[in-house]
Amino acid sequence: MLIPCPHCGLRPSEEFVPKGLAEAPRPALGGRAKPDGPAWQNYLHLRDNVADHSHEYFHHALGCRSWIVVHRHTLTHEVTGATMAADFWKADKPAKGAKDAKSPTAETAEDGQ
């Protein structure tokens, strides 16, 4: 499998460490406020886990060390794009499966090299 790291371009999957589905945003730390249990339960444990296009965290651990969110189909393993984790929750989440103009895909990553 090849993963399009937004920084490095297309790279073999063995350079990455996957962490699991990126479905719910990570709840913010609440300062002195009482932390929000259900949000954390949702973030840490519960998953839609679809057999479809999905978003997953990968760490380019043997590479540039970016955390990225990979857009991938869990049944076909087709990779349609990737976003820096730093940007993923900021912007509007790209629609699942849609080729993401901002991120290199299997085709565009190559050109970037």
């Binding site: 499998m1 996957p18 962490k19 840490l44 519960l46 998953r47 057999a51 990968f58």
Partner: protein, 418 residues
């Protein structure tokens, strides 16, 4: 019963050209309604149906299988059977299951080839030895068996293991003598035949596409072969738990991941026991047919595909030739994958759901083959009595909210780390 298996029957059939064998199970049309529907004709679904009939006298049962019986993980796993767990929540259950394995062939009248050839868990450091000592002690306190081996013990019991590996020298191992392996297909087929003969309808090529819930109670299911009504529905769909759960609107703490397995060409006896390596997350045994059956950990990414990729293959082989160097020249014959229902603590869930009459059996990760008889025993009890027996008291669905997790590895709430 007339259609019994056994030596004399085989002899008699041999003499008359095997014309007398009956189908191992019927191929019935689904009825309009059942007392209990079990979704999933894998090991757990079939054993649940078997014990519902045998232990609880509930025979108006259908097992709905979307493909062919036993085509899921029960038919594609590395067949290790053991109860060498650390936590009470697990040992109590897996030890019950191991006890059932010991009498299973005779109980089913079907040779499931359970072979107590022992499992040896090799460790590579003093701290790992202490952890395994604790585990061994816990096992014994829960009624299981365990033996601590030193290096010499490993040399004696598993001579092909590279005890002097300069990278990860072997310090010793924890052995469970009663553990072993079984023939995967025979387990599915034995339970299927047993359930069928007790009146259970096994319905293949029948995919559940909806779960009908009225006023918080389950009333039946939709399938590609039409709707079927039921008073109770049990889910035992392993890697497809989230998809089926969604049909009932259940949010579940499950991710699906692929695990690969491998078999070598058939060879004359080479390895006696099942061996697992702490440092390499690698396990290997030899099947009755002579193939070395082995595997390691998940590919790591989320997947519903029953196949994996080369990085994990390489990793597995690196571990294999490092720990059992003689296998280097042995050729890998076939590799495949199965879809695992990974829970956040690596332990299973057998529980009621918030929907009345809907029961959940899930989260087996890659350890549910050994659970097959135990799971059916306990799940059928839960379905029949609406309350868990003591073997599964801790396998609750709400434990992630409460924090009573059963984390064998101590890896924390990340599904793919277990």
């Amino acid at each position: 019963m007339a259609d019994q298996y056994g030596f004399w029957r085989l002899l008699a059939e041999g003499l008359r050209g095997h014309t007398g064998w009956k189908p191992a199970w019927r191929d019935p049309e689904p009825k309009a309604e059942y007392d209990v529907i079990i979704i999933g004709g894998g090991g757990h679904g079939l054993s649940t149906a078997y014990y519902l009939a045998k232990n609880h006298g509930i025979t108006n049962v259908a097992v709905l299988e979307k493909g062919y019986l036993g085509g899921g993980n029960v038919g594609r796993n590395t067949t290790i059977v053991r109860s060498n767990y650390l936590h009470t929540g697990n040992v109590l259950f897996y030890e019950k299951s191991l006890q059932l394995w010991e009498g299973l062939s005779n109980d089913l009248g079907y040779n499931v080839m359970f072979s107590p050839r022992s499992i040896i868990n090799v460790f590579h450091s003093d701290s790992a030895r202490d952890a395994d000592t604790r585990r061994g002690n816990q096992m014994i306190l829960h009624g299981a068996d365990a033996v601590l081996l030193n290096r010499e013990g490993i040399r004696r019991e598993a001579p092909l293991v590279d005890v002097d590996n300069p990278r990860f020298p072997v310090y010793g191992g924890l052995k469970q003598t009663r553990a072993g392996s079984a023939r995967h297909d025979a387990v599915a087929w034995g339970f299927a035949r047993g359930a069928d003969r007790r009146g259970v309808d096994l319905i293949q090529n029948c995919e559940v596409t909806g779960i009908d819930v009225r006023n918080g109670c389950v009333v039946g299911v939709q399938t590609n072969r039409g709707p079927i009504r039921a008073k109770k529905v049990g889910m035992a769909v392993a890697g497809n738990t989230s998809r089926v759960g969604k049909l009932a609107g259940l949010p579940l703490p499950i991710e699906s991941h692929v695990l690969q397995a491998f078999v070598s060409e058939g060879l004359k006896p080479m390895l006696h026991n099942v061996i697992t390596f702490g440092a390499g997350h690698f396990y290997i045994s030899q099947s009755d047919k002579g193939g070395l059956v082995f595997g390691a950990s998940l590919d790591g990414y989320n997947s519903y595909a029953q196949r994996g990729n080369l990085p994990r293959v390489e990793h597995v082989m690196e571990a294999a030739v490092s720990f059992v160097p003689a296998v280097s020249k042995v050729r890998m014959l076939r590799s495949w994958g199965g879809v695992m229902d990974m829970s956040p603590d690596g332990s299973p869930i057998i529980d009621k759901t918030p929907i009345e009459g809907l029961y959940l059996n899930a989260g087996w990760c890659y350890g549910g083959f050994k659970a097959t008889p135990g799971s059916g025993w306990c799940f059928s009890h839960l379905i029949a009595n609406d309350s868990p027996n003591h073997h599964i008291e801790q396998m609750r669905l709400d434990r992630f909210e409460t924090g009573y997790v059963i984390d064998e590895l101590g890896a924390g709430a990340q599904h793919n780390l277990h």
